[in-house]
Symmetry: C2
Subunit: 335 residues, 2 copies
Amino acid sequence: MGKEEKKNITIADVAEALGVSKTTVSRAISGKGRIGQETRDRVLKYIEEHDYKPNVIAKGLAQSKTYNLCVVMPGDYDVVDLTFFQECLFGIQEIAGIMEYDILLSICKNNDISSLERIISNRKVDGVILMRTFVEDRQIEYLQEKKVPFVTIGSSNYTGVIQIDHNHKSACKELTSIILMKGMKRIALIGGDENHVVTQSRLRGFREAYEKMGEVIDPTMLFLNLDNHVVIDKIVEEVLERKAECILCMDDAVCSRVLKKLREKHVKVPKDIRVASFYNSSVLENNVPSITSLSFDAKELGMVACKTVLDVIEGAEVETRTLLPYEVVLKESTK
Amino acid sequence: MGKEEKKNITIADVAEALGVSKTTVSRAISGKGRIGQETRDRVLKYIEEHDYKPNVIAKGLAQSKTYNLCVVMPGDYDVVDLTFFQECLFGIQEIAGIMEYDILLSICKNNDISSLERIISNRKVDGVILMRTFVEDRQIEYLQEKKVPFVTIGSSNYTGVIQIDHNHKSACKELTSIILMKGMKRIALIGGDENHVVTQSRLRGFREAYEKMGEVIDPTMLFLNLDNHVVIDKIVEEVLERKAECILCMDDAVCSRVLKKLREKHVKVPKDIRVASFYNSSVLENNVPSITSLSFDAKELGMVACKTVLDVIEGAEVETRTLLPYEVVLKESTK
DNA sequence: CTGAAAGCGCTTACAG
DNA sequence: CTGAAAGCGCTTACAG
């Protein structure tokens, strides 16, 4: 409509149009440095009217900043609880957006950090959020070595790591205690990769509950490091033979598979055996019966993590460890 | 260990160390412009040994490029099939990584494009991949107006849009035909937001199957635009009363809810009623009985979409519409 | 084949 | 309070 293809308007254009220097325009926009109120208003008015948008890349180059955050998501297919990471991502993105930051995604499959390395050495981000931690964690080692600001979602044993987590230990302790108090002593604990820090925390909570109740764990009822579905199926068989009263699942993916196996064998929950999961996600949402589990606010976790890494980037002091609250949600499966 | 905190080494440092100009170093690295073989080798050797990494941001500023792609993910919680988008994202990331591009994530809730707008007006990306299309699509309109290179995953009716999609129409037509051929005429079609292009395609396939088989659709058996679980539950009741022989679900989230309701009412699949879904994802993976559905390769879709948008960015000619193949997977639920 | 210089669009000491 | 100039780390006509 007569509109000509406009080149992007720059700070120089604004300066020229207003008969001031680029310095002045820059100051009016950033709010840094002394500048006359009237001058500032003129500049602000002009850029508003002409829809001027500063080039963030150029700004970044001058300031050695990118206004990007890297979020590292786990890329292992089956194990992952997608909903959790999704929700978390929403939280991160919400805060990041407010602070004018964007999210660069890195996908990490079993501790392979090549994608993260590329992003860091290309200087594409100002900080990193790790969505999952390993007991032995190459991402953490790499980031510490490179002195890149980062936080982890989930706990870590590495010293000096800023961590945002739910209180998994305490949550699992509580859920386990409740089950013990209901009189079920023969609990089978299934799932969980011991290389993940969260598994360690859950396990500790599980153990503490037994101690607190003066009960003793039957070590043959612990089934960790299950790497595939077939193994889970076999374990369910075994657990049934051993007359377990309750199956406690480390996460919902495992729980979902356990429930499938139980259905196939026509074992009724909760009549024949009780089931609970250390995690709640939409995977089990539509299950009949409804499944007792721990409830965590993943979005909140993401928001806090994002806020924290931004603080770190700006050099603020932050807590080394932030623990968010949880809920125990009792449902039909443990009635 | 005596190692001093090194500032990042730049192209100027390399040039000085080698006694050549920055121009020469730049050319050796980029491979553009004439340069002596011996000189190039010297430069390459030096940067290799000293672990020099070009600053992508600076390079981008000089070339008006970012080496970033924006991927727009749907942010509506319930409706979304996460696994699909996740897989797709993996595919995108895999190709992007190979081409030295990174992924900037934008989350779009019900056609709200503010996040995308920010990323575009901040010039943070060279191109965009839209993971879901709307019949009336503000993202598409915005990107076309701004002349930003982009492709859509899923089809679109806007002219000139580069689309990568599975052949949903044809897939749904085939699955519907099979069911009709099995002798089930009373099919209830459930779910699907008519604002999504994919719903339109599926519906068209459904209709064509009826036409092909010389059957007539009972319009009162179509239940679209279900926005919440309660509605689905009610519809299942209605469908049962109306003696439907098969429930066809537009996607797995809907199907999962339908199955839940059926279980609660102790209606057996496939004995009392058959069920199939126009989509396959891990949501239904552990269901007993296994569910007949259409199978699509989401990762492949992501890979092709990424490759295509990269081609568009580089000004290459690309197909306006690429349709990927599918599979019909018959399982127990329609036996 | 190689280099000096201008430019990408900002920021920020420094000087006035 | 304001501006000229240098700088962020690259690329790329242009000239030789």
